[in-house]
Subunit: 117 residues, 2 copies
Amino acid sequence: MKALGRHMIVELYGCNGQALNDVKLIAKMLKEATEAANATILSVQVHPLTPQGVSGVVVLAESHISIHTWPELGYASLDIYTCGEHTKPERALEVIREYLNPKNVNIVELKRGVLLE
Amino acid sequence: MKALGRHMIVELYGCNGQALNDVKLIAKMLKEATEAANATILSVQVHPLTPQGVSGVVVLAESHISIHTWPELGYASLDIYTCGEHTKPERALEVIREYLNPKNVNIVELKRGVLLE
């Protein structure tokens, strides 16, 4: 049974709080993660939140990568959703782990668009 | 046990293929869905895909709504991820169902950011 996409739903706990609050760093991280995953960027939006935190989404030709951060809790909520055999979402996660240095990571992976042939 | 966010992961099958390929309609739908959910838009990105389909993401003050469409398959992959007691993600889904008229809908709901107090 084939699926159109792979969606990695990732909880990052015990991250570096300063990194989680740095809009420029998060934007750089998302671009590097996309490159590592061998995916193509259509657009990038990264916003500071009030009173702290960052929300960033990269729309890809192959779906999206999103992150929402809670610096005060050391927590980030990450989605890496890619389509196509050429993409390597695990590599995006490796890049993001290097940037945020979480103490614990939880991953749920879903197949999206399972269509009977 | 409290969670920071609710993430509805929705598979829409048997949708109106013409609607799934209409960038303007998808953008309008995402904005209306956000309003219905009582969430706040930070930015909207909607892109046509090659050779068909649309990818759209609304970054919210309360996380995000994303959709990726395959008009040729009548399939759309939808995520409605909201934080805060004031948001009503089910209402966003109601709006999107009205626009895309799917024959079948599958929903998985995850709690995001479950933190022990």
